[in-house]
């Protein structure tokens, strides 16, 4: 988690702190140590191939099958070719959901990164006591298990006795007394977004703070001698220095938000009128919910493809940079 900074630092062009500007890579002991590295990664590779790869293949096979209650119970296999994909790709519903997922992810990630960075920078300016206090609040939000958090947010936004409606009413927005947050698409998304941002910001903020402490003070001093203000300091020192951190974190947040299932599902089960279904929820409803498992598998494969497309830029960047590693 916090190590993300290091991970990022290791993948980026920024000055390497961790390695203390170590000399150019040495061949020999540190380098191509024969079979040792392969033995070391063997358990990971084996586990991932057996338990994830195999299942992905199985899932891929299912996506070409007509697999419903009857076939599952009788354990029969009915191949249908690309029927499932054909149906999904032709349905306007799927494309709506995809578009919605992308917009939803973008909005959330932007909010998370912006708010997270601001709070991270604030942490750096605080005295020890206040910093501890704010960190505690952040850690509490961060640590809340999703299942518990969604329950709590349903209670906070409860129509009749929810504290949010009470506060809005008390603050003078009287039409919000008794407001039903799950009655509309936008308001439902609003609640989901607040929940996700609330849970994700601490990760960004705390890591950003930890990362800023690794920036040499001299850089800031030099910047302020040049008359740079807070904003200028951020753009000319902090941001370039931590660019790999931002990229890596954004990448992770894109994956996490895009894949967010429990939050979206639990708040309103994709309602009203299926208008808040994101791709994972849609795949779940179409596959598990309607026991149309082959269809669900097809949608899940498409989900992976879309996620790969969304993160292709970063993956390429990583690939390129890994070449100059070590």
């Amino acid at each position: 988690m916090s190590a993300q900074i290091e991970e990022a630092a290791a993948t980026g062009p920024a000055p390497r702190i961790g390695k203390g500007g170590a000399a150019p890579p040495r061949r020999g002991r540190g380098g191509g140590a024969g079979s040792v590295p392969y033995l070391l990664i063997l358990p990971t590779v084996a586990a991932v191939v057996l338990l994830l790869g195999w299942t992905l293949v199985k899932n891929g096979l299912l996506s070409f099958q007509n697999l419903n209650k009857r076939q599952l119970i009788q354990r029969v296999t009915e191949w249908t070719g690309v029927d499932n994909y054909d149906t999904v790709l032709r349905s306007s519903e799927f494309w709506h959901v995809t578009g919605r997922s992308v917009v939803f992810t973008a909005a959330n990630v932007v909010l998370i990164m912006a708010v997270g960075c601001l709070i991270g920078l604030l942490l750096a300016r605080l005295g020890t006591k206040l910093r501890l206090l704010l960190s505690l609040g952040l850690v509490l939000a961060w640590a809340m298990p999703v299942v518990a958090a969604t329950t709590v947010f349903q209670w906070l936004f409860d129509q009749r006795f929810g504290v949010v409606n009470y506060l809005l009413d008390a603050l003078g927005w009287h039409s919000m007394a008794g407001y039903n947050w799950t009655s509309g698409q936008f308001s439902t998304f609003f609640v989901i977004t607040v929940l996700i941002v609330w849970q994700s910001v601490p990760f960004v903020a705390i890591n950003l703070y930890a990362a800023t402490t690794t920036i040499p003070k001299e850089l800031y001093e030099a910047a302020s001698l040049d008359g740079a203000g807070t904003w200028k300091q951020f753009t000319s020192v902090t941001f370039p220095f931590l660019k790999p951190f931002f990229l890596a974190t954004t990448f992770l947040e894109v994956i996490w938000v895009f894949k967010a299932f429990t939050q979206v599902f639990a708040i309103n089960e994709g309602g009203p009128d299926r208008l808040t279904e994101t791709l994972p929820v849609y795949a779940f409803q179409e596959g598990m919910g309607s026991q149309h498992f082959g269809m669900g598998a097809a949608i899940s494969i498409l989900t992976i493809v879309i996620l790969l497309a969304l993160t292709a830029y970063y993956l390429r960047l990583v690939l390129k940079q890994e070449e100059d590693e070590l």
Binding site: K69, I73, Q74, N180, S183, D273, Q285, M288, Q291, H292
Partner: protein, 423 residues
Amino acid sequence: MKRGLIAATGVVAMMVSVAACGSSDSDKGSADGGSKGKSLTVWFMDGSNPPGWTKAVQAEFEQKTGAKLNVQVQKWDGIQQKLTTALSESSPPDVVEIGNTQTPSYAQTGGLAQLDDLKKEIGGDWTESLNKPSVFEGKQYAAPWYAASRVVIYNKKVWADAGIKDTPKTRDEFFKDLEAIQQKGDAEPLYLPGQNWYFFDGLTIGTGADLVKKDGKKYVSNLADPKVAKAMEIYKKYQSFSKAPKDKDEATPQQADVFAKGKTGAFIGMGWEAATAVKANPEIEKEIGYFTIPGETADKPEGVFLGGSNLAISEGSKKKDLAKEFLKITLSDKNEGALAKEVGSLPNKDALLPSLKGQPAAEAAAPAAKTGGTTPLIPEWANVENAPNPIKAYMTAVLGGKSPEEAAKQVEGDMNKRLAQKQ
């Protein structure tokens, strides 16, 4: 059925431990060799098995067969996936409870054992309408266990305060009474959320509407039918007396819990939901009354949805004979009668109806049973009710101001897709 039963779960929540205390001494009794030492696994749904009754049935079964009965109470979350996957396993539960609207779709899966001989032996006088869902292509795949229909549960004090002397005999009288309570202004006349879909299903039965129609070989949505629209208008009129959310069903929040606060004139629910209310607020017990949902005219009560549960034996069970023994015991007149008495549900044969005497909820439900109906009895139907149920979306749309025609159009695509889903 699902929601109705969920509503009942509050009652049973405190007593589900019954299942756990199955430490029977199976050596006792007249065990006939073969079954001794065996154990039979039964899935009951959370809320279906009242404690006293379950204990008695368990004791009787273990005494008679010498086998052990392992009752597993299943939660409602993801029950369909759980049931489907369980039936596909090499050692599935031997006996499962299946809601009547789900039964046809499971009958065609091959996961349920045929029970034609059992039907011949003990099912000669099962009520025809209750048995229908269990029959698929002429063969018996489950046995009717119990049924229940909705009644009006009302708060006598609220009604008396509004100056109402008698319970209504027609729908118009009912509306007048609700208006009177509204005028009085102390209480919400009726608690009816926008998605009490089984109440709506009853109204469509009342107007003689069909929810699906045949289009060639396929079934398609028939929501645009004026008879459905008429039923929805009636629902809308009822709903106008309630402040309940239009986009929620009767289980979120539990309507009985709302009623328990004493600020609600009435709600439409299963008889046993009253117990949930009493549990939440014991004070309310003496105020609770029941009556049949009145129809258009006094001679014919409103159409109701006959929810119910069936018991089936899994095809993969290795103890089918023992499982049949269990069904015979569970469905015996004695135990059917006892269940009806304990929770006020309708027994699986008319001959047992007298055992409902003195059970006010059941007495209120009984008159409507004859005019009751179910959801369309086709295997495809289960897909429609999978969350998110498009009919609920239809209801919310109409209550939100759309015309029934528009709303029907809005959900038609989803509904037809579900009906056409490959089996």
